[in-house]
C-alpha cells in the first residue's frame, strides 16, 4: 500500500465507535443484517440528501439501535454526554479526562 494511505480511522473516536459496534454484535445485541439496516436508515434522512456511511452516521445508527432496544435511552445518553463535557472542562489540559472529574457528579 502507498505510504499516503490514511489508515482506517481519521480520529480516535471513530475507532471507538467501530469497536463498540463490533463488540456489541459479537455479544449478540444485534446481527450484521440488523446493523446494515440501521446504518442504511441513518444515512437516508427523510428531510435531507443521502449521506456518506461515515463514523458519525455509525454513531447515530448505534444510538438509535440502543435506544430502540431500551439499552441506552436518549435522555440518559444526553445526560451522560453533558457530564463528560463538564468533566473535560474541569480537567487540566494534558491530563486524562475522567468522568469522576465532573463537578456535578453525585
Amino acid at each position: 500500500m502507498s505510504l499516503a494511505d490514511p489508515g482506517p480511522f481519521a480520529a480516535p473516536w471513530e475507532a471507538q465507535v467501530f469497536a463498540l459496534v463490533v463488540s456489541l454484535r459479537d455479544a449478540g445485541l444485534f446481527t450484521w443484517p440488523e446493523w446494515a439496516q440501521a446504518l442504511g436508515r441513518a444515512i437516508r434522512p427523510e428531510d435531507d440528501a443521502e449521506a456518506p456511511a461515515d463514523y458519525g452516521r455509525w454513531l447515530a445508527a448505534l444510538e438509535g439501535l440502543l435506544a430502540e432496544r431500551g439499552i441506552a435511552l436518549a435522555d440518559g445518553v444526553a445526560e451522560r454526554r453533558d457530564a463528560w463535557l463538564r468533566a473535560a472542562a474541569a480537567t487540566p489540559h494534558g491530563q486524562p479526562i475522567r468522568l469522576e472529574n465532573d463537578p456535578l457528579r453525585g
Binding site: 500500500m1 489508515g7 482506517p8 480511522f9 480520529a11 480516535p12 473516536w13 475507532a15 471507538q16 465507535v17 467501530f18 469497536a19 463498540l20 463490533v22 463488540s23 456489541l24 454484535r25 459479537d26 455479544a27 445485541l29 446481527t31 450484521w32 443484517p33 446493523w35 446494515a36 446504518l39 442504511g40 444515512i43 440528501a49 449521506a51 456518506p52 456511511a53 461515515d54 458519525g56 454513531l59 448505534l62 444510538e63 440502543l66 439499552i71 441506552a72 440518559g76 445518553v77 444526553a78 451522560r80 454526554r81 453533558d82 457530564a83 463528560w84 463535557l85 473535560a88 472542562a89 474541569a90 480537567t91 487540566p92 489540559h93 494534558g94 491530563q95 486524562p96 479526562i97 468522568l99
Partner: protein, 221 residues
C-alpha cells in the same frame, strides 16, 4: 495500549500552550457522545474496555488489504487453491489464517479477458473487513453507491481504469451476509515470481474492482 490513551489527548483542541493549566480540556460534541455511550455500556456490562482496545489495535495495525493480496497471490500461483477460492471463498481464505468475525460469507469473483468485476454496497458500506481492512472513504460515499450501478464504466474511468469496449462489467452488491472480493488477472511479465513478490502488485482497489494490479514495469520504476 492503555484505554485512557484514546481519550487523554483530545484532538483539535484550540490551546497550544502546554503549560497553561488554567484552561481545562476540551471534548468535541461527538467525542462526548461516544464516551457517553461507551461508559454506559461498560457500566451495564455489555462491553469490555480491554476488548475494545484489542479490536482497535487489530484494525489499526494487523488487518488490511495485505491480507487480501496474499489470497490473490496464492490463487495466481496455485490452480487448485484458485478453484477452491472461487467455489467457496470463506474456507479457502481461512486456509491462510485470515479469519472472518463470523456472520459474513465471502464470495470471490474472478476477472477474465471478457468480464471485469466491480464491488459496491448500495445499502450502506458492507465490505470484507477481515480480508481488505476497513473501506476507503469513497466506498462509503453516496456517489459511488449510486454510480457504480448506473454508470460503472464512468466510475472506472474516474479511477483511471479503461477497459476494452467489448469487456463486460459485472457489478456485485455486497450485503451484511455476502461480501464480495475481486480476483484480478495476473499481470503479464510475472512468470516465475513468488507469492510475496506477486502480493506486492495487488492493490486494495484491484480487489474492489476500481483498479488493476500494478505491472512489473510500474514496480520497477
Amino acid at each position: 495500549m492503555a484505554h485512557d490513551d484514546h481519550h487523554g489527548h483530545p484532538h483539535g483542541h484550540a490551546h497550544g500552550h502546554a503549560h497553561d493549566h488554567a484552561h481545562g480540556s476540551e471534548l468535541s460534541p461527538i467525542e462526548a457522545r461516544v464516551r457517553a455511550l461507551e461508559s454506559i455500556l461498560v457500566e451495564k456490562g455489555y462491553v469490555d474496555p480491554a476488548a475494545l482496545d484489542a479490536l482497535v489495535e487489530m484494525y489499526e495495525t494487523k488487518v488490511g488489504p495485505h491480507n487480501g493480496a496474499r489470497v490473490v497471490a496464492r490463487a495466481w500461483t496455485d490452480p487448485d487453491y484458485r478453484a477452491r477460492l472461487l467455489a467457496d471463498a470463506t474456507p479457502a481464505i481461512a486456509e491462510l489464517d485470515i479469519g472472518g468475525r463470523g456472520g459474513e460469507h465471502m464470495v470471490v469473483v474472478a476477472n477474465t479477458p471478457d468480464t471485469h468485476n466491480l464491488v459496491v454496497c448500495t445499502l450502506c458500506s458492507c465490505y470484507p473487513w477481515p480480508v481488505l481492512g476497513l473501506p476507503p472513504v469513497w466506498y462509503k460515499a453516496p456517489p459511488y453507491r449510486a454510480r457504480a450501478v448506473s454508470d460503472p464504466r464512468g466510475v472506472l474511468a474516474e479511477f483511471g481504469v479503461s477497459l476494452p469496449e467489448a469487456t463486460r462489467i459485472a457489478v456485485w452488491d455486497s450485503t451484511a451476509e455476502t461480501r464480495y472480493m475481486v480476483l484480478p488477472m495476473r499481470p503479464a511479465g510475472t512468470e516465475g515470481w513468488d507469492e510475496a513478490a506477486l502480493a506486492a502488485l495487488v492493490t486494495r482497489d484491484a480487489m474492489i474492482g476500481t483498479g488493476l494490479p500494478r505491472t512489473p514495469d510500474a514496480v520497477a520504476a
